[in-house]
Structures are given as structure tokens and as C-alpha cells.
């Protein structure tokens, strides 16, 4: 009788207690860091561990790369007198090198020394104002990727010229998504979506085996929750969007957004309202960082120069450009994974 009871108990318990497919376990957490809201949805047996490890990594990197935290590497570097070498962490050094590289290859349209100019417009402190031309010209003298210096060899020292301030905000979230991808890989995570606002990493595929579906916010309909410029259907990929609609203020009937053109010191007036850069995740590569830096740089360049840059740069990334005159231009590498939103009213073009 005891055996019968045990068998019945075990058998019946099984109907509700059968372990779920380990791949279906899910952990979803929200993290507020780096001036944005991050949502990590991670699947798999080690989903909880990986999600919280990702949060720890975000906090660690924010502690190194933040321009506003007084003890961060970047703050220490900015506070140091001109020419004095400051020893920074390997992560900070790597990202400073990447920032210089992307500045060089984009002809300076990405620049991590623009911080004083952004501050003059009030974008750093949320105290918006329109600075004078004279003020901007003065600040632009201290802007340029060649105005901070990294020591040669294995040393982790960095220094800057007089009046130069570094802000890695335009590239740090991309670096964070690269670091999170490493955590997902190490924990054998089968699928995940990692959203850092304008930066997204999709890992694996959806639970039903189809690619993850990413909605690109329509810059013209930011007040509509379902307003999209199009959809990306992706697996194992990074996508980063930069748009003037993300942060802006109005004064005397004119709108001023937060993406500053290093050539003028003013909000970029390039004819684009958003740029999305897409790249596959590749083991050992830093394609999240690449997408982040290029999304800003190509927004500043404008449609023609951005497409020229894409054509001459090889096939490492793809683009979706939304233009002020009502077009959505996608590059032909996205033919199979970009879908228009038929309700958007945009004219869709594919370029090669």
C-alpha cells in the first residue's frame, strides 16, 4: 500500500512539477544605469545567474566609464592637469583606443571630446540653452580625438591637452553590450534580448524558433507607442539607433537636439532623423561598440556620406536611415531581415 501511495504521489506530482525545458526558464530584470533604463530578458538554465551577472558588469563598467561619477577612470582623467598621465583600467584604455579609432575612420564625426560643447547646450545637466557662436568657437578649440593621448605598449596610462574633457557616453553602451554578450556566451544562454534604450542585443532566436523582432521607433511618431519606421528580424546581432528625437529642447520655435556636429558645435543638421546600425555578433569581436560609435557618426554625416562610408567600409555592418523628407533607406544586406511598417507613411528604398 505504501508503495502504491508513493507511486501515485510521484505520478500525480509529475503533472505539475515536471521540470520545464531548461531553455524555457526565463529571468527578466530592469536596470537603471548609464542614464538609461535597461531591460534584460534571459532564457535558459542559467538565466538568473546570467541576468544578474550582466547587471553587475553594467555597474562595474559604469563605475569606470561614467563622466559624472567622481571616482571613475574618466573623471580622474578629466580632473588631471594637462599632460599628466593617469593610469586607467584595461576596459577604459580599450574603449579610449576604440574611440580614437572610430574618430579617425569617420573623419571626426564621432568625437568623445565634445563634452564641453554638449554641456554648453545643457544636454549634460538638463539645463538647456543656446550658446553663442563665440562661446562655441572657443570650446571647439579643445575638441578633437588627437587632443588626448594613450601611452605606447602595455602601459595603461592616458593624458589630455589643456581644456580637453572626455565623455565616452557615445560608445560606452555599445561596449557594455559586447561585455554582456560575453556573459551570455560563457553561460551557454540559448536566447536573450538585452535592451539599453537605443542599443539592443538579440541573442539566439525566439522560443518558437523564429528571429527576434525589433521595432525601430518612428522619429516622427514618438508619442505613439506602436509607431515604427520598420522592423528588423534578427538573431545573434546588435542594433543601435541614434536619433535627434531622443533628446531635444525647443527655444523660440526652433528645435535643438543632442547629437552635436563636431565641425560646427551645433546640433547636426544632416537631413536624417534617425540612423540604425546593425551588425552580427561575432565571437571575439566588438561589434556592439562599432554599432554605437557609427550610429552617431553616420547621423552627423547625413545620407550621402553615410552610404558612401558603408560602401567603402566592407560588409561588417548594415544601415537603416530615416530621412526628414519621409523616406526609409535600408542597405541591401538587410533585404531578408528588414520589414517596412505599412502604416508609417514612409517611402521605402533599398540601396546597394
Amino acid at each position: 500500500m505504501a508503495a502504491l501511495m508513493a507511486a501515485l504521489t510521484l505520478g500525480l506530482s509529475g503533472c505539475a512539477m515536471t521540470p520545464a525545458d531548461p531553455d524555457e526558464a526565463q529571468e527578466s530584470i530592469q536596470v537603471i544605469a548609464m542614464d538609461t533604463v535597461m531591460i534584460f530578458s534571459v532564457y535558459g538554465e542559467k538565466s538568473t545567474h546570467a541576468a544578474y551577472a550582466a547587471e553587475d558588469e553594467v555597474r562595474r563598467l559604469e563605475g569606470l566609464l561614467s563622466r559624472t561619477e567622481p571616482d571613475s577612470d574618466v573623471s580622474r582623467l578629466n580632473a588631471a592637469p594637462a599632460g599628466e598621465e593617469v593610469t586607467v583600467s584595461e576596459d577604459t584604455r580599450t574603449l579610449l583606443e576604440a574611440a580614437q579609432l572610430y574618430s579617425k575612420i569617420t573623419d571626426g564625426t564621432f568625437d568623445c571630446t565634445l563634452a564641453p560643447v554638449s554641456s554648453a547646450w545643457g544636454f549634460t545637466e538638463d539645463s538647456f540653452r543656446v550658446p553663442s557662436r563665440t562661446e562655441l568657437n572657443g570650446l571647439l578649440k579643445n575638441v578633437g580625438w588627437d587632443k588626448f593621448h594613450l601611452s605606447e605598449g602595455q602601459s595603461l596610462a592616458a593624458s589630455h591637452d589643456e581644456g580637453v574633457e572626455i565623455d565616452l557616453g557615445g560608445i560606452a553602451k555599445g561596449y557594455v553590450t559586447d561585455a554582456i554578450a560575453k556573459i551570455l556566451e560563457e553561460n551557454n544562454i540559448p536566447r536573450a534580448t538585452i535592451s539599453l534604450g537605443g542599443n539592443v542585443l538579440v541573442w539566439g532566436d525566439r522560443p518558437d524558433g523564429t528571429p527576434w523582432r525589433i521595432g525601430i521607433q518612428d522619429p516622427a511618431r514618438v508619442d505613439v507607442a506602436d509607431g515604427y519606421a520598420g522592423f528588423l528580424n534578427l538573431t545573434n546581432a546588435f542594433a543601435v539607433t541614434s536619433g535627434g528625437y531622443q533628446r531635444y529642447f525647443e527655444e523660440d520655435g526652433k528645435t535643438y537636439h543632442h547629437i552635436i556636429d563636431p565641425a560646427t558645435g551645433c546640433p547636426a543638421d544632416s537631413g536624417l532623423t534617425s540612423v540604425t546600425v546593425v551588425a552580427d555578433w561575432e565571437q571575439g569581436e566588438s561589434n556592439g561598440t562599432l554599432c554605437d560609435a557609427l550610429s552617431t557618426a553616420l547621423f552627423v554625416m547625413g545620407e550621402e556620406k553615410a552610404l558612401d562610408f558603408w560602401r567603402t567600409s566592407g560588409s561588417g555592418f548594415e544601415l537603416v536611415l530615416v530621412t526628414e523628407d519621409g523616406r526609409v533607406v535600408s542597405t541591401d544586406g538587410l533585404t531578408d531581415c528588414f520589414a517596412p511598417d505599412e502604416t508609417s507613411g514612409y517611402a521605402y528604398e533599398t540601396v546597394s
Binding site: 500500500m1 502504491l4 501511495m5 501515485l8 504521489t9 500525480l12 506530482s13 503533472c15 505539475a16 530592469q30 536596470v31 537603471i32 542614464d35 538609461t36 533604463v37 531591460i39 538638463d126 534580448t193 535592451s195 534604450g197 537605443g198 542599443n199 539592443v200 538579440v202 525566439r206 518558437d208 523564429t210 527576434w212 523582432r213 525589433i214 521595432g215 525601430i216 521607433q217 522619429p219 514618438v222 508619442d223 505613439v224 507607442a225 506602436d226 515604427y228 522592423f231 528588423l232 542594433a239 543601435v240 539607433t241 536619433g243 528625437y245 531622443q246 534617425s274 540604425t276
Partner: protein, 135 residues
């Protein structure tokens, strides 16, 4: 000669116990499965302040407004069966108000200055809806 029941077939106290155990376990199974379905199918707004969940509002039953405060800012949030809207906020950016009404699972309203997030979970699955929004 009247047939006698075998003593082995006569229900005893142990048998009653087994029947009771089976009935209880079956009830338990049913309740667990029913609970899972309810959770999966009911559109629910999860409100978090500074990373901590402070309230869950099942939209089927919700009509009304509630205030949530975080980091010195207050949001007035309207809940209706069709969706959730931030009606009013005293934060400087007003991004939460501009988001409009969210209506399906996965959508969220974020007030970064107030560190308040309202995210919809559950509800019917729409395979064409985006899993993530970028921008």
C-alpha cells in the same frame, strides 16, 4: 451458500487515505495549471520604482488613476482594460507622458528622472508585435 467477500477486497482505512490523497493531488494539479494560465493570459501592468516592483495591476479589473513617486517626481497613471497611460507628471523630460498609451505585453513607459517603469506582461501573444523596441 452466500458468497463472502474476500477480506483483501474490502475497503479499509488505507484505501480511504489513498482516495483522499489522489483527490487532493488532483485538485492541487488543477489549481496550479489554472493559476499558470491566468497569469499568462491576463494583461498586467507591473510598476517598478528604482528597480523594485511596487505594484501589479490586472488591467481586466482596472479603471482609475493612481500616483507613483520616485526620486522626487510624481506620475499620475491611468489604468483601463485597454491600456495604461501616464496622464500627468512633474518630471522635467515628460517622456513618460509623450509615450502615450501602452496596450500589449512587452511595452513599457519609462520615467528616467523618477526612475519609474511601467511594463505590461501577460495577455494574448501577437507574433507580429516586436519583442524589443529600439530608439
Amino acid at each position: 451458500m452466500p458468497m463472502r467477500r474476500s477480506p483483501k477486497l474490502r475497503p479499509g482505512a488505507w484505501d480511504a487515505l489513498v482516495v483522499l490523497a489522489v483527490a487532493l493531488l488532483a485538485l492541487g494539479c488543477g489549481l496550479m495549471l489554472w493559476g499558470r494560465e491566468t497569469t499568462a493570459e491576463t494583461l498586467t501592468a507591473v510598476v517598478s520604482v528604482d528597480g523594485r516592483e511596487v505594484e501589479r495591476v490586472v488591467l481586466d479589473e482596472a479603471v482609475g488613476e493612481r500616483d507613483y513617486s520616485g526620486n522626487g517626481y510624481t506620475l499620475t497613471v491611468g489604468f483601463r482594460p485597454e491600456g495604461v497611460t501616464v496622464l500627468e507628471a512633474d518630471c522635467p523630460t515628460q517622456d513618460c507622458v509623450r509615450t502615450g498609451t501602452i496596450t500589449r505585453s512587452g511595452q513599457s513607459i519609462v520615467c528616467l528622472p523618477g526612475r519609474i517603469i511601467i511594463q505590461l506582461t501577460g495577455g494574448p501573444v501577437d507574433g507580429n508585435a516586436p519583442d524589443v523596441v529600439i530608439g
